[in-house]
Amino acid sequence: MSLLAIDNVSKTYGRTRALKGASLTVARGEVHALMGENGAGKSTLIKILAGVVAPDTMEMTVDGRPVALRGAQDAFDLGFRFIHQELNVVAHLSVAENMAMGKPCPRRFGVAVDWPALNAQAHAALDRLGVGHIDPRTKIGRLSAGDQMLVSIAGALSATGEGARLFVMDEPTASLTGDECDKLFAVIETLKSEGASVLYVSHRMNEVMAICDTVTVYRDGRHVATKPVSETGKDQIIRFMTGRDVADAFPPRTTPVGERVVCRVDDVSTEVLCGIDFALREGEILGIGGLANAGQSELLQMLLGLGTRRSGRVEIASAPGLADPSDPWTHGVAYVPRERRREGLMLARPITDNVVLPHLTALSRAGTIAHRRRERALTAEMGGVVRLKSDGLAQPVYQLSGGNQQKVVFARAVGAAPRLLLLDEPTRGVDVGAKFDIYTLIRELSGQGCSVVLTSSELTELIGLCDRILILLDGRQSEIVATDGLTSADLLGRFYDEAHGGHAAA
């Protein structure tokens, strides 16, 4: 018998119909993947299950009995536990305090917190996840993003003893390294063997193939297919998701890299980076590779003029080093930040305002008065370039799907025909279709002579898209490799060990 069966779920936000009579059935003790492009309705479904969004219609049974879900407490009582993609931690509290949040806390004399017991509880839960080395007393803000995610997961898992039956994991591996992912997968196996079910939402096809039993695909708010993983394959799932065949390939380079140097970095060191040294030519695409948090984002921000350089020189578009984050845009440099919601978008404001923000002066009358018609024209044009889908340019950005939000950030970046484009994880949390659009766009810009520096945690993306890859080992530039003939395994090896550089060159 199924643990959870829902049917006929619909939800409308304003004019957007996020779910249109979708269904989902999760069996006991299975790991069930939920896939779909951004905007397919996965996030809305998760919010409905968590009790934080009320559906317009829904029929739901748990253990075959119809149940109503009126709020987050109901979801908790039904044994649903949630692990969210976005980190949800209080940075200045300890690991143990973060894990205990929202749960009954061990006490002494009824009032005082029993710290030893609290820390012991936390340690046990962390140990179970294979990360017993994390001290429960550490302030969580000091941990890496990956470790923070593992702590959040451990916190949710430690609730198992209190009747947890279904774990909903939304992109749990987004900020984990390969090693950390393996630890999580081991825990998922344990949960499964204990009889709990897991609803696993991810864009990462390989993970789904490796750890899931069943896969359900949504498209445009509707259920498309549910199949045992063993009876389907990557290509078929992508077809279900997109409704069409998408080549799992990167658009090839069609124009040669130019000769002129657009950006020259001479032996730059900062607090995080060391010995960064490269010259970027017109139309060239340079990837920044390395393990998680090796300094990739910091390198892009250094190029933007953020942070303090300890030594070295940066010359961009024949202007001397940028000192202020407002300079790059006036020097033909555009930037797509890593966290689009936190660093990129004004969510409550219209698409137009988001796109034109860095270009206001260029579009204005006499450098002072806003020229709305030109602003709308630019937004419409750039929206077309990035293949943005919306209900009109006045629509607030929060109403868009993740992929379309990313396209808004891209539309802003390409708005003034940049000569140097800095992209921090440009396809993070973006679905397959939007990903391909973004790849095509990067190629087009490069073909028009725009140089690109991009970071990515996907090896295939670095190899498929970039001409060369600068490898960072803990902030230090170890080498720059050409991507011709480079394999994922080779590249990954270079992330771990400096010696590999010599090996590949031999």
Binding site: E343, R349, L357, L360, R412
Partner: protein, 322 residues
Amino acid sequence: MAVITLFRRYGTLIGFFAIIGFFAWQLPDTFVTPRNLINVSQQISMLAVVAFTMTIVMVMGDFDLSVGSMASLAGVVAAVLFAQGFPVWAGVAAALAVGLVGGLANGFLVSIIGILPFVATLGTLTILSGVAFVVSDGRTIFGRDIPSAFSGFARSGISLEPVGLAGLSLPWLTVIALIVLFIVWFVLEQTIYGRRLYAIGGNREAAKLAGVKVKRLRMSAFALTGLGAAIAGLMYASRVASANPTQGSGLMLDAIAAVFVGMTMSEEGEPRVLATLVGVLILGILDNGLTQMAVDSYVREILVGGIVVAAVAFSSLSKQTR
């Protein structure tokens, strides 16, 4: 469904017209008359100027608690100079300069030093109030010390004879409020400066990374708010033909309330200066109408506070159910 959407979107505006309609019905002979409406416009002019310029910082998600003390200080500075025989223009210029400098100081604390606006402007509120006491020696400056050219300003205006309203004139205080309204509207809605302020309010980090000079803009916005407070302080001093170190203190909370009421009129809860005008009008009309209906002052305060809370509560409730 459609009716609910209508109320959600225009609830405050409907409430505003309901209040006008109610007074027009209860006070048929005295409320909707040219003279009374002109009176109201003059009565709210000082609050309006503070609220309009307060909108500038609130657009960025900041606010300024020091406007009341700033208004008092500006009035006192001008009056002290008048008492020492300086001409009217000198006193007015000095008061405006004090407003600008005080506003810049707020902006410096908030944007360069990085103190929360609540704490920084609470501090300057106290400092400015203390300075106003020191400058004035704690006294009310009035009578012969105030030149009649200055106090006469608030009692005169543009004659409305040509438009058929014999014996009435549009008070200068109202004219100033209208000019400030136009300038703030133009700056916020029509210039790229205003667009950038809204961007800072939308997401400060994103605005910075998109090339907006956040620190400089925040500082300048606080300076404009300080200048507005000083203008209102001068208007107040002219109207009461005197200045004392506490007379502007009532303006701050009313101005913030007016902006909040206005914010309920925007779908995304953003401050808009024309919406602030509606907020100011609601407060001013309630005072005027309820006085005419001889409602007890304290009951009036309860009503005004209740209506502000109700407007904001309704607006956030309708956002939660969205």
